[in-house]
């Protein structure tokens, strides 16, 4: 049984109805528990839980400090290629969008790596669009070999791979992967992904499990908030994370809550997630999974990121660009979406320190055989 079966079981239970049926007393009873299960998590995501948001936030803060201390791991994304064969209605890299396409060669990857490493960062996240021509396994391995000389942790956020391919990248030096399901709603997923390999819902849904199977050290999942009802997406994201942690206890499971940002194209989210809903989602996840990492990217603005820092966040990006070669090159028209927090790594580190948190530049040591 894979996570798809878990999803199917819950789909038959009328999640909307369950969320609406939760009472304030249900929430209080849940908050009194020391260990939460799936139904408890749903309770904390219900509309009735919003009146208890402060209590949830305080408990989430305490849990986070106990588990992780007052520390935040910093990383930055590096876009390697924006060539993409998929036609996804909401994405700036959509094959049909008329944007400049770019692909970094080995020399450019090295130059980007050198520039980023000057900031002191040791964690890098590499991203590509889905193109096995422009971002082939051989290309990725070449890039990882270069990046291994500059960074002690290399994460990938690329198209879903087979288990054996994950193994090969781990052998090459990758230790972490991020993959967003975009939406857990299967029917909507089919409509949004008009054409291309990404249309295969199950292949994407099972990819984090394949990465775990391959012994990836850290796996980060999420839904692109705005495509469908936020409470649903948060619920299934948490359930998915819970499922992975149960079946792969040795893997660091973490969750992101990316809200849709403006990008090239004309897609507007039907279900925008406001700040209250996002805080509820973050705190509920922290209480449900006290040990899970929670990543907050520069999709959110500086002020909001500062404010939600104590609520459970353990990883943040800094000095970000979504442009291919954006750390070194002037051509800035290849981005996937606009970022909101444009602080440099230095500014981010200073800001965290002033808020009483230690910016952690290195939290993993590559231990290749």
């Amino acid at each position: 049984m894979g996570f798809y079966d878990v999803y199917k079981q819950w789909e038959q239970k009328d999640v909307d109805g369950l969320l609406k049926s939760v009472t304030s007393d249900d929430v209080l009873r849940t908050l009194a528990k020391t260990r939460l299960h799936e139904q408890d998590y749903l309770t904390l995501l219900a509309p009735a839980a919003q009146e208890h948001l402060e209590a949830m936030a305080q408990r989430a803060h305490d849990q986070t400090v106990a588990q992780f201390g007052k520390t935040v791991v910093l990383y930055t994304p590096m876009y390697l290629s924006n060539y993409c064969v998929n036609h996804c209605l909401y994405c700036g890299f959509n094959a049909r969008n008329n944007i400049s396409r770019k692909h970094l060669d080995a020399g450019e990857v090295e130059e980007e790596a050198r520039r980023i490493s000057e900031t002191g960062l040791k964690h890098i996240l590499i991203l590509t669009g889905e193109s096995r021509t422009w971002a082939s396994m051989d290309y990725l391995k070449t890039c990882v070999a270069i990046l291994s000389r500059y960074f002690t942790s290399i994460a990938i956020e690329i198209y879903p791979l087979e288990t054996q391919e994950y193994r090969e990248l781990i052998t090459a030096g990758v230790d972490a992967m991020t993959l967003y399901q975009e939406t857990y709603n299967e029917a909507l997923y089919d409509r949004l992904h008009v054409k291309g390999p990404k249309k295969n819902y199950r292949f994407r849904l099972d990819a984090p499990e394949r990465a775990c199977e391959a012994r990836m050290r850290s796996v980060n999942i999420g839904a692109l908030l705005g495509l469908y009802k936020g409470r649903h997406e948060s619920f299934y994201t948490g359930l998915h994370a819970w499922y992975l942690q149960k079946h792969y206890p040795e893997v660091d499971i973490s969750v992101s809550f990316p809200r849709m940002r403006p990008h090239t194209g004309s897609f507007n989210p039907d279900y925008p997630v406001d700040d209250v809903n996002l805080v509820q989602a973050i705190t509920a996840l922290r209480l449900f999974m006290p040990r899970a990492g929670i990543t907050m990217s520069t999709r959110e603005n500086a002020e909001f990121r500062n404010q939600i820092l104590p609520l459970g966040v353990t990883r943040m990006s800094a000095g970000s660009t979504t442009v291919v070669g954006g750390h070194t090159q002037k051509n800035q028209d290849t981005g996937q979406f606009d970022i909101s927090d444009e602080r440099t790594v230095d500014q981010m580190a200073l800001s965290l320190s002033s808020l009483g948190y230690q910016p952690v530049f290195k939290d993993w040591q590559a231990i290749k055989a």
């Binding site: 106990a66 002191g120 206890p249 952690v360 040591q365």
Partner: protein, 265 residues
Amino acid sequence: MTAFLNAGDALEIGGKKLTSRLFTGTGKYASDTMIPRIIEQSGSQVITVALRRVDFQSGTDNVMKHIPTSVTLLPNTSGARDADEAVRIARLARAAGCGNWIKIEVISDNTYLLPDGYETVKATGILANEGFVVLPYINPDLMVARALVNAGAAAVMPLGSPIGSNRGLMTREMIRILIDELEVPVIVDAGIGRPSQACEAMEMGAAACLVNTAIASAADPVAMAMAFGEAVRAGRRAFLAGPGAEREKASASSPLTGFLYQEAR
């Protein structure tokens, strides 16, 4: 007895004599700049550091810069999921100049962060053979502990309760068995949340305590470090002093045998 309370009561591990029986850590602090004062105020002479966190190349973000050279470094294998990874991390630590002490942490369950005894025994055997002073973090399981001693562990480090939980000596009875049965030092690691709990562990006969979260998560970590230093010293003194036996009732007289002595009085 007074000799034991001073230098004569040193804890010997790996050829070193330690007069402080409080081990501290480097994780979870809002700033690493606190570390020298934590060391100073607690009196700790051993500090554990996760190799995964050490950036030897960094001029600014390097925890090692904050650790006084007089303190014995106890690198740990945080992040290792099996014996092989623990061994590789330990070798990297030694090659990087962190000395030959190693705290083995093999954790294959990220929900409870409980140590994997089987893999820990394997790693201990390999590293002890390579000349490391091995201090493994374990569940307080006598059979695992004996296997570790046979594999060459210099001490064992049983958890008091799950790591970071601050819940104290939940495994008290199991730790007591290790203290009674093992010939190597038993250092209580993980879960100690209050100085009184560290004091209790020392009163029981633990050789030392390792405390990190309880100090790092205190409102005033430096003051809490001092409190732990005092508590560990007090507990050790109490252990050496030989606490009186516990009784369930007050026992001012001898109700059952007092008649034997009535005439003599």
